[in-house]
């Protein structure tokens, strides 16, 4: 899977690094710091298909990032914690293709320092629930069988009932989770696409049906689950495709067990849109006209995105998702 593995030399005796290397069975190349190579030159995104490198490193600088109001009640602080850069999957709409200069993956191993930052931030809001999201810069479950950090974050939630961690994923790699006990404030959220669209645009990911099965498995084990229909992409009969997805979720008894369902119509920054055009010129994403919108992001027209969002929202309510649990993501809420 990995073309080359680079490890920061000061970490080579770190037990967590040793454990990862043992599982990978590949001789690493030692470097002083991951950023002496990673992202130094503009490596085209699709090179990840045949020359994806792995960097194991210590995250310096910002370990937590304050996020805008997202899911849940407005006013509750939301943070992203940064434990990795880049992703093994290849979703055609992924913003990572225009975010970093390279698709190479970095796994940060200084989780204790990240958790310290989380603890500090939690204490700065003494009377509030604080959200911590993983999965902003990488899938939060896909490589957990290698990295083994889940237990630390789980412990953090156990000790801090005011903190809620959301692990956002497209992975069905739930083995490590099942070993832990479920917690009310430890939520696993799955990004889902309609079955037919998912096959075309969510490349190298488990199918939406497999993700639903993983959700059922987690639910059976007492886990809190959530779903994201984001990005919603236009195709003929898109609403019927979402109804089919939601009906399947209902049949699997998922729709009335969601913590929340977030909805977002596809949108890109200008740079990411250019990358998507370059990397996936035949993608269905390009078959519907888009414009530069109110925030300079490239989106469908306002009527189109409101029409699509409402169609999917109605379908979700009809399938049994409570309307109070449906959140419209990154869209002016009018």
């Amino acid at each position: 899977m990995w073309n080359k593995i680079y490890v920061e030399e000061h970490l080579i005796h770190n037990p967590r690094v040793q454990s990862i290397l043992e599982k990978l069975k590949q001789v690493p190349i030692l470097i002083t710091s991951y950023d002496e190579i990673w992202g130094k030159s503009k490596k085209p995104y699709l090179h990840k298909r045949d020359s994806l490198n792995l960097f194991i490193a210590q995250k310096k600088g910002q370990l937590l990032k304050l996020a805008p109001d997202a899911y849940g009640q407005a006013g509750e602080p939301h943070y992203y914690f940064i434990h990795a850069f880049n992703c093994i999957y290849e979703c055609q709409y992924c913003y990572l293709q225009g975010y970093f200069n390279t698709p190479d993956i970095v796994l940060f191993v200084n989780h204790e320092e990240i958790l310290e930052e989380m603890q500090k931030s939690l204490e700065s809001y003494p009377n509030q629930k604080v959200w911590y999201h993983a999965g902003e810069f990488s899938d939060s479950l896909a490589l957990t069988h290698l990295t083994g950090e889940l237990e630390l974050y789980h412990d953090f939630c156990k000790k801090n009932p005011r903190a809620t961690i959301e692990l956002r994923t497209k992975s069905v790699n739930i083995k490590e989770l099942i070993k832990l006990s479920p917690l009310k404030n430890f939520i696993i959220s799955f990004s889902l696409s309609p079955f037919s669209m998912g096959k075309v645009i969510d490349l190298k990911t488990p199918s939406s049906l497999s993700r639903l099965k993983a959700m059922v498995e987690l639910k059976k084990n007492g886990y809190q689950i959530a779903a994201h229909f984001d990005p919603i992409i236009y195709q003929d009969q898109f609403d019927e495709h979402y109804k089919t997805l939601l009906q399947t979720m209902k049949d699997m008894e998922l729709t009335d067990n969601l913590n929340y369902l977030s909805l977002g119509v596809v949108r890109f920054t200008k740079d990411v849109y250019r990358e998507v055009e370059r990397n996936y010129p035949d993608s269905p994403i390009h078959s519907t006209p888009m414009i530069k919108s109110f925030d300079n992001k490239v989106r469908y027209t306002h009527p189109m995105r409101m029409w699509m969002m409402n169609k999917v929202k109605d379908a979700a309510i009809n399938a049994g998702v409570s309307s109070e649990l449906i959140y419209l993501c990154m869209e002016e809420n009018d």
Binding site: N3, K4, Y6, I29, I31, E36, I37, K40, S41, K42, K43, P44, H47, S51, N53, N101, Y234, Q235, D236, P281, D282, S283, P284, H286, S287, T288, P289, I291, K292, S293, F294, T301, H302, P303, M304, R305, M306, W307, M308, M309, N310, D334
Partner: protein, 335 residues
């Protein structure tokens, strides 16, 4: 005319003889199909000499052809590979700017220094598959001058191994001939792409052609059909029968194509027109954002008398924004 760039005269000898090139200067050779430039070793040397010749004469493409050392077992000595991306390495470290030659192939590192130790080669092996001394400079010059760029490398040795330079020197003659024969194959003319705007009875300007071609592509994706088959989805004969100018016929065709791609376009346009018409009949004009992004509505009218002014203000007093808001919010099931 192609400009072939090669680092050394020894590598280029085969190309010069094979294509019967005439020596113009000690480093520049011309023929009917192509010219060959000996750039010298090193990215800066390659960039400056290539830029100089691109400024002297018009070339359709620049092809960098030459030898490289391999950093990967997947790229074998003695084989020629198309290069995918080219990176620059200074002091063993990658630099930001990279160039693309092909969608697939080997990634080449142009290094300022020769890679003679296995430790250095190992460190670079995660960044690229091959190492050379000039491709990045040639790519930089070609891209700056807006000339198409391609790069092919014959693998001469394993980078970082002892004696690599001797291997290269000993095999120079064979390699040179191999490169020349390879070049013959790649510069053969290819059939030109079909021009889809050659439609009888239609006239395309530069901008309408661009729009037409973009929509052809989008519709082919949406309908999952070939671009060549998209025109069959529209009744071109019916458009041809209309007694209108060819450019107006093109406008109608583009409009039909837009309607096919945008499921709401017709509904929005007719809804907006329905909202505007009663006011327009009274001489009051409404202008809205054509992209629907802004909710701002501009109203304009003129009045010649106090009475006319008051009548129009009265009409405006009764104007309802709700139909416009419903359209803008994608609510089509309400009146």
């Amino acid at each position: 005319m192609h400009l072939i760039t090669m680092a050394h005269l020894g590598e280029a000898q085969g190309v010069i003889e094979y294509f019967n090139l005439k020596r113009i200067t000690p480093h520049y050779f011309e023929g009917e199909l192509l010219c060959c430039l000996i750039t010298g070793e090193g990215p800066f040397e390659a960039a400056t000499t290539t830029s100089h010749y691109l400024g002297q004469k018009k070339f359709n493409s620049v092809i960098n052809l030459g030898i490289a050392g391999t950093l990967s077992d997947d790229f074998k000595v003695g084989e020629i590979y198309g290069v995918r991306s080219i990176y620059l390495i200074i002091d063993g470290k990658p630099q930001f700017k990279s160039f693309k030659s092909f969608e697939k192939g080997a990634d080449c590192l142009t290094s300022f220094e020769r890679i003679v130790s296995s430790q250095k080669a190992n460190k670079l092996s995660g960044i690229g598959h091959l190492v050379d001394r000039e491709a990045w400079g040639v790519a930089m010059a070609a891209k700056t001058c807006g000339v198409s760029f391609k790069c092919f490398k014959l693998i001469s040795d394993v980078a970082g191994t002892i004696g690599a330079c001797e291997i290269v020197r000993d095999n120079a003659q064979n390699g040179s001939l191999q490169l020349a024969q390879f070049l013959q194959n790649i510069i053969e003319d290819r059939p030109s792409e079909k021009n889809h705007t050659e439609l009888q009875g239609f006239h395309f300007t530069v901008s309408t052609r661009h729009k037409f071609e973009q929509m052809l592509k989008k519709i082919s994706i949406r309908e999952a059909i070939e671009i060549d088959d998209v025109a069959e989805l529209f009744n071109l004969d019916e458009l041809r029968e209309q007694k209108i100018l060819p450019k107006d016929r093109t406008r109608l065709l583009l409009n039909q194509m837009e309607n096919k791609l945008d499921p709401l376009k017709e509904k929005l346009e007719s809804g907006l027109q329905k909202w505007k018409t009663p006011l327009e009949r009274e001489g009051i004009f409404i202008q809205t954002d054509s992209t629907w992004e802004s909710d701002e509505v501009k109203l304009s009218f003129s009045a010649k008398t106090q009475l006319e002014l008051e009548q129009k203000i009265e009409i405006l007093r009764n104007l309802k924004f709700k139909p416009f808001e419903n359209l803008r919010n994608g609510n089509f099931n309400v009146e």
